[in-house]
């Protein structure tokens, strides 16, 4: 068996060192080694998004990244979202809008939504749906999730009324065109 490797990474703001086998995914490293079980395993093929974490500012599926690849990276997981005395606005809005039923997909959605709002504080409904399309939810039909993210953006945009417009913006199929026209806030 291949020998284990020491990996150093910044996880939720903490300098972290862990020992893992090269064949272990980042998801396994987080869940089985670091006991951060908030990131969930849904498919191991990058199709459900339940294991979504943010690495160096980008959302990705931790099941499709090796733990050893995390060397020197900055990683955010759902466990790092809340402050000791307060929830992240996205967490708060997911609760207020009843956006979770079983809750297994919620950590992944929260991380994808955070990555979106970090890059684009005032997304349209179309932009929200595009950003969340890599996360599957089987309980909600997405309605209340989209509403929560829009509301979170609006709350953050402190009532400018600009953020999180429902029923506004391009349809799903127009997203790519928008990128080319450079309209997408990145």
């Amino acid at each position: 068996m291949a020998k284990k490797v020491v990996v150093e990474a910044t996880i939720n703001g903490e300098q972290t060192e862990f020992l893992c086998e090269p064949r272990q995914s980042l998801l396994e490293a987080l869940r089985d080694i670091l006991e951060l079980t908030g990131s969930k395993e849904g498919c191991l093929t990058g199709d459900c998004g339940a294991c979504t974490v943010i690495v160096d500012g980008r959302p990705l599926c931790s099941c499709l990244m090796l733990g050893v690849e995390a060397q020197g990276k900055t990683i955010e997981t759902v466990e790092g979202l809340a402050q000791p005395d307060s929830l992240h606005v996205l967490q708060q809005k997911f609760l207020e809008h009843a956006s979770l039923q079983c809750g297994i997909c919620t950590p992944g959605f929260l991380m994808s939504a955070k990555a979106l709002l970090d890059h684009n504080p005032k997304p349209t409904e179309g932009e929200i749906r595009y950003a969340l399309a890599g996360n599957l939810c089987r309980c909600t039909g997405y309605d209340k999730i989209v509403r929560a993210v829009a509301d979170a953006a609006q709350t953050r945009a402190s009532g400018t009324g600009r953020g999180g417009r429902l029923g506004s913006g391009p349809s799903a199929s127009e997203q790519t065109e928008r990128f080319l026209q450079g309209q997408e806030v990145k």
Binding site: E21, R23, Q24, R31, D32, E35, T37, G38, S39, K40, E41, G42, C43, L44, T45, D47, C48, A50, T77, V78, E79, L81, A82, L87, Q91, F94, L95, E96, H97, A98, L100, Q101, C102, G103, I104, C105, T106, P107, L110, R129, Y130, L132, A133, N135, L136, C137, R138, C139, T140, G141, Y142, D143, K144, I145, V146, R147, L166, G167, A172, S173
Partner: protein
């Protein structure tokens, strides 16, 4: 729409508090089955059949057992042989020998992915590698993949012992059951019809698609007791079924229900649970088993694909007079498709004087089906609700009006005979008619609107609840119903309503099988109804006891004490009312702690109806269907937490749309599942759905203290037919196959254009 809570005199019910388990679930702290870990934990994996149908000639495990890190390997020989007959296990009836043979194949594999052996090792990777070292010698048999093939004379037989009443005790068969429902005189009926529509439908096998794969941690103690941690819809089912499969006394197993990542009916049976216990017994270690997504799709219970022939007739003025239905459902490898439910739901919303339904449960080389949200009803409604739409078109009637004219009301006989009590079907149609969506104009080419309705029985069954009054005047609520989508919140709201407490002063706890009385599955749309009833009664029991304490303090008779709006009161001599909080502080001196208790075996279940309207746009070149708008109206009896009620309505609608458009089990000619992943098993993403509008209709269930109706299932019934009807109105083709995927729709459209051209040519000649 739902009347406001206050208007109905409720303080808590009808409001939208934050769920009690919410913070744990948005911070990643909530523990799902796969999140449990224990010292010395081993990881179990299952070897699965690469063939759809084969005899197992031998299994050699020595090489696998010899791999460093492997601690135990088991096969069916390690499980007791069980009686091959229907038995009551927990609340469900099933054949335990077949249940066991589905968990580990005995002598024969019956589908691609059928479990053949299991092992435990020190790491999941070692376990996976070890599976490659197990040598199985198969004698491959021809696969039987469709009901048509399975029902043909001389078809290969899956289960040598299977018999049915029609064919008699000497005839081997793949048909497990034939059910028939009959009313009136068909010939009479169809004679009096002005329009008759008859079509044959095929619907594909589909999966519940919960995001959390099945999991279990088994811990066997040397004293013969075992604990199972797992994500399940019913901890008591896991206990009774696992005990049966393992040959252990039920009382020797404790099941601790973890948080559950979706079920939709698929987690009402067992797969890994007994294996984790048996591997723990062999190794002396806790053993964790989790399925991969491919295992979930290949080897857990999807719902039946089906073939349905539906013939219906109505008069010119739109009265349904007769219906004849033939339906055959894929049971999978062992009997038990939901065809009975399909037969009893297919025309349930309508009053049809002359009726004949024949229904067949057929085994095929596919995974054993399990419950899926209103099991059997969506396939059935795809047939009946599209035929009804066609009849309404023939009559030139609005599809809602046609359904209202023929719709079931109180007293209308159900398919199996018993009359309906008070139901809200017509009300759902009225709600859709007056919805902004239905009133809006749909413009543009290749766009169409479709309406369909659905029925589901809902079930009652058994629940237990305990309400503990604490000295600070708060309460804790103990239930056995796992929380799959707001259960804790809804149950706490009911207790808070009765006790006159703030909902945040009631702490709901979902507990294990040793800490609460028997409680059936969170499924069958029964939890708010039946567990809610138990919680209501348990809270009332606590109030009764509190009244006794107040009476003692006031030196009155308990019956003189009243309880109103959170305050205990007594008539006369200026006695100051007491709140629960005040009284709670004095429990010690008045007789000690108070626990209210109640159990129910709920009667008087009220069935659920839903009506859905969908707008679609079809790309006439690629035949891709976009869902432009969707609205669902559902009779929920009484919405406890409207947010989670809407969530159930929206979620079922989304699953129904997936079923309608793209979801299907795709097997090759050898019976191998070719889309056993979420890339090619295509569930809707949030780019595939619009916001889903809801109309909550509240027609209380007679007899229930709160009038609750189950809300969990019926919303999945109308969408496939509603989408089919919308497509028909958009591009003029009546689809009779699910899913209505682009290749199928293209075939239908080319067929139509083809015939149009030939007609044009003929006309030109």
């Amino acid at each position: 729409m739902a009347a406001s809570a206050k208007a109905q005199g409720y303080r808590v019910i009808g409001t939208r508090p934050v769920r009690h388990d919410g913070v744990d679930k948005v911070t990643g702290r909530a523990k799902y089955g796969a999140d449990y870990s224990f010292p010395g934990l081993l990881y179990g994996k299952v070897l699965r059949s690469p063939y759809a149908h084969a005899n197992i000639k031998s299994i050699k495990v020595d090489k696998a057992a010899a791999l460093p890190g492997v601690k135990a390997v088991i096969t069916a020989d390690d499980l007791p042989a069980l009686a091959d007959k229907m038995e009551q296990a927990g609340e469900q009836a099933l054949n335990l020998a077949q249940l066991s043979a589905n968990i580990l194949a005995r002598g024969k594999v019956l589908y691609d992915g059928h479990a053949v052996a299991a092992l435990a090792a020190t790491s999941p990777h070692i376990a996976e590698e070890a599976l490659r070292l197990i040598e199985v010698d198969y004698e491959v048999l021809p696969p039987v993949m469709s009901v048509e093939v399975a029902m043909k004379p001389g078809a290969p037989i899956l289960l040598p012992g299977l018999r049915n009443k029609d064919e008699g005790p000497d005839k081997q068969t793949n048909v497990a059951t034939h059910l028939q429902f009959k009313r009136g005189d068909l010939n009479e009926g169809f004679k009096s019809a002005d329009y008759v529509v008859e079509r044959e439908f095929k619907t594909a096998m589909v999966h519940q698609g919960y995001i959390e794969p099945h999991n279990a941690v088994g811990i066997y103690n040397p004293d013969g007791h075992a604990t199972i941690y797992c994500s399940t819809q019913g901890s008591f089912v896991v206990r009774s079924l696992s005990a049966a499969v393992l040959g252990m006394p039920e009382g020797n197993i404790k099941v601790v229900p973890a948080e559950i990542g979706g079920g939709f009916g698929g987690k009402t049976t067992i797969y890994l649970e007994p294996l984790s216990v048996m591997l723990s017994k062999k190794t002396g270690h806790p053993v964790k088993m989790t399925m991969t997504r491919a295992e979930v799709l290949r080897a857990t219970g999807p719902t039946s694909g089906s073939t349905i022939r539906c013939k219906m007739g109505c008069t010119k003025d739109g009265r349904l007079v007769a219906a004849q239905i033939w339906m055959a459902y894929e049971a999978g490898a062992f009997p038990g498709s939901p065809v009975g439910a399909g037969a009893m739901t297919i025309v349930a919303p309508y009053n049809i004087p002359h009726l004949l339904v024949d229904a067949y449960d057929v085994v095929v080389n596919r995974p054993k089906t399990a419950a899926y949200r209103a099991p059997g009803a969506s396939n059935a409604a795809m047939a009946s609700e599209t035929v009804i739409d066609e009849l309404a078109d023939r009559c030139g009637l609005d599809p809602c009006d046609f359904r209202i004219m023929n719709g079931a009301k109180e007293g209308t006989p159900q398919t199996a005979g018993p009359p309906y009590r008070r139901i809200g079907f017509i009300e759902t149609l009225e709600a859709i008619k007056s919805s902004p969506h239905y009133k809006s104009k749909l413009e543009g080419r290749n766009r169409g609107r479709g309406v369909a309705s659905g029925f589901w029985f809902n079930v009652g069954l058994q629940s237990s609840a305990i309400v503990n009054i604490h000295t600070d005047g708060t309460a804790s609520l103990v239930i056995g119903s796992v929380d799959i989508g707001g259960t804790r919140a809804a149950q706490a709201m009911i207790a808070a309503e009765v006790l006159g407490l703030d909902v945040n002063n009631v702490r709901p706890l979902v507990t294990d099988t040793d800490s609460i009385g028997h409680t059936d599955v969170t499924g069958g749309s029964r939890t708010a109804f039946a567990t809610g009833w138990a919680v209501y009664e348990a809270a009332q029991d606590a109030v009764r006891q509190l009244k006794e304490r107040a009476a003692r303090l006031w030196e009155k008779k308990p019956e003189e004490v009243g309880f109103d709006n959170g305050q205990f009161v007594v008539q006369g001599d200026g006695v100051k009312p007491m709140t629960v909080k005040e009284l709670a502080g004095r429990l010690a001196r008045t007789g000690g702690p108070i626990s209210g208790r109640a159990t129910v075996n709920a009667r008087g279940v009220g069935p659920a109806f839903a009506t859905t309207v969908v707008d679609v746009e079809v790309d006439p070149d690629t035949c891709k269907v976009e869902i432009l708008r969707a609205t669902v109206a559902q009779d929920v009896g009484k919405a406890i937490h409207p947010g989670y009620v809407e969530g159930q309505m929206q979620g079922g609608t989304a699953q129904g749309i997936g079923w309608a458009l793209n979801e299907e089990y795709f097997y090759d000619d050898k019976g191998i599942l070719r889309n056993s992943g979420l890339l090619d098993y295509r569930m809707p993403t949030c780019l595939d759905l619009p916001l889903i509008e809801t109309c909550i209709v509240e027609v209380p269930t007679p007899g229930h203290p709160l009038g609750i109706r189950g809300v969990g299932e019926v919303s999945i019934v109308p969408p496939p037919a509603a989408v089919a009807n919308a497509i028909a109105h958009a591009v003029g083709v009546r689809m009779t196959e699910l899913p209505m995927s682009p290749p199928r729709l293209l075939k239908a459209l080319l067929g139509k254009r083809g015939s149009a051209e030939t007609q044009a040519a003929a006309a030109g000649r």
